[in-house]
């Protein structure tokens, strides 16, 4: 398991969604961000799991509705 690293998380977001880093803020939300669809969501999850060597629960996958929430949930796995 790799340690919690916000840069890694943000890089994955920027890469999958094709967004510049300054657009990825805590309020960035699945419901309002056009690029963030269900497929991208699962691709992001898959990359987290690969990069950090973890397996994320389904309930947590569904709860990852904003970037802020994503960090909070990953923090739980990585500490």
């Amino acid at each position: 398991m790799a340690p919690f690293n916000e840069d890694t998380i943000k890089n994955i977001f920027c890469e999958v969604l094709g967004l510049p880093a300054q657009n990825v803020t805590d309020t960035l939300a699945y419901n309002s961000c056009e690029q963030w669809d269900s497929l991208k969501h699962l691709q992001i999850v898959a990359m987290f799991e690969e990069s950090f060597g973890i397996e994320i629960d389904m309930d947590d996958i569904i709860a990852m509705e904003t970037y802020g929430k994503v960090k909070e949930i990953l923090h739980k796995y990585l500490t």
């Binding site: 497929l39 969501h41 699962l42 691709q43 898959a46 389904m58 996958i61």
Partner: protein, 429 residues
């Protein structure tokens, strides 16, 4: 004439006149599948779910992200858990607390009839046969073969380590055959049915009736996922609650997925009389439809469906005591009347809104044709009472908005995996 698209792990289109060769191949290969530990099978399928996300040929197809989520180890574990009570029973004899050991043996060859309304249906059907270590011969509409094939094609490249051994996805693939043939040819249909140790039938009422009457072997088990109807009901407290507006987005999504052609698609939304008029709620639902992503908002429809929608709209615009809200195109339609009854499906995102005095008024409308009821009822006592009465009368699933199509077992009242195995015992000596 039978067209075989996949057998023995090879994706080659070939014609045959009977199923003998396919049956021999599946019977040989399913024995190898049976030797795979269920945890290895789950690991392979979990790997498949991750691979489909990366394949640009498949990952843009609607429904593929759901497949990927559904194939996650955690979900497959839960499916086995609820079907077998303990997944170790599928790998060998296990203790029961009685004076015998028990095991779940696969039934053998599962012949599957896939309906022409949901491209990914065939895939879910096959995975259930795999999780019960059965061989599959799947009859599906030719137009779905490319999608299902491109998912299954990923299997041989997956290998997993489990308890020191390596297992390949190829073992799973080898136990699956994909075929298509004209369902109206009696002889071929009979041959297919007679090849089965177990039949799974998906389809409308005519198809189900005809197929289930085909001759089959005495030991053959038949699992039917027949035609069904779904709807939604919200009570007064729920409509007054904070989450109500958001739940209308979810209702719109439930209506839109599969363009209202699935058995789990809701056709009517009953609303308990509340502080908002039906017209007000309809105007909010309109916003929900309008802001849907284009793939859901605009979906191809047949000209027959187009005529049905046009006629339904005009009828509701002409008649007294009825009303209709709709855009210029046929993307969605809200039809309103006061009659406390269910309505024949129009499909193509036509939802009927009806105001009722109390949620309980819909209970007498429930019969065995009802699959899912999406409820907005907050009080836990009221929820459970509603659910108990509605399911007693025939409904299979009481769900919440936004989850009506979530494919969880039991489905249609059926624990599929459990039906695909025989429970065998070994007495203690």
């Amino acid at each position: 004439m039978i067209t075989c698209h996949l057998v023995d792990g090879k994706f080659e289109k070939q014609s045959c006149t009977d199923f003998d060769g396919i049956v021999t191949s599946i019977n040989r290969n399913r024995e190898v599948l049976t030797a795979l530990p269920v945890d290895a099978i789950i690991k392979i399928l979990d790997g498949l779910g991750k691979r489909v996300l990366k394949n640009p040929e498949i990952n843009t197809v609607p429904g593929v992200s759901f497949i990927s989520l559904w194939l996650r180890r955690e979900n497959l574990d839960k499916i086995c858990q609820i079907n077998y009570s303990d997944k170790r029973y599928i790998d060998g004899f296990g203790k029961t607390g009685q004076n015998f050991l028990m095991m779940a043996q696969p039934r053998g060859i599962v012949c599957q009839w896939i309906a022409a309304n949901m491209p990914t249906l065939g895939f879910f059907s096959v995975v259930q046969a795999i999780l019960s270590k059965n061989g599959s011969i799947v009859k599906m509409p030719e137009e779905y073969v490319p999608l299902i094939s491109s998912i299954l094609r990923e299997l041989p490249a997956i290998s997993v380590e489990y308890e020191g051994k390596t297992y390949s996805g190829k073992t799973i693939l080898d136990a699956i055959a994909l075929v298509s043939f004209e369902g109206r040819t009696q002889e071929t249909s009979e041959q297919f049915s007679l090849a089965a140790d177990c039949r799974i039938i998906f389809g409308g009422s005519e198809a189900v009736r005809i197929i289930s009457r085909l001759p089959c072997r005495d030991h053959c088990e038949t699992v039917i996922f027949g035609p069904k109807y779904s709807f939604a009901v919200f009570d007064r407290e729920f409509i007054a609650s904070e989450g109500f507006r958001k739940s209308l987005d979810l209702v719109a999504k439930d209506v839109a997925v599969f363009n209202q052609m699935a058995c789990s698609s809701p056709h009517v939304l009953f609303l308990e009389k509340s502080r908002y008029s039906v017209e007000t709620i309809a105007s909010w639902l309109k916003e929900s439809f309008e802001k849907m992503p284009p793939v859901l908002r605009h979906q191809p429809i047949s000209s027959g469906m187009s005529a049905r929608i046009i006629n339904a709209r005009a009828e509701y615009q002409l008649a007294d005591g009825r009303n209709c809200i709709a855009p210029q195109d046929l993307g969605w339609t809200i039809l309103m009347n006061q009659e406390p009854c269910l309505e024949e499906p129009v499909q193509g995102k036509c939802i009927f809104l009806k105001e009722i005095g109390s949620a309980d008024e819909v209970i007498p409308l429930v019969n065995h044709k009802i699959q899912a009821i999406s409820i907005g009822i907050l009080d836990p006592v009221k929820r459970e009472s509603f659910a108990r009465q509605a399911t007693y009368r025939g409904a299979d699933r009481i769900v919440i908005p936004g989850t009506i199509h979530d494919f969880t077992l039991p489905w249609d009242g059926i624990m599929t995996l459990n039906r695909l195995v025989r429970w065998v015992i070994l007495k203690h000596s």
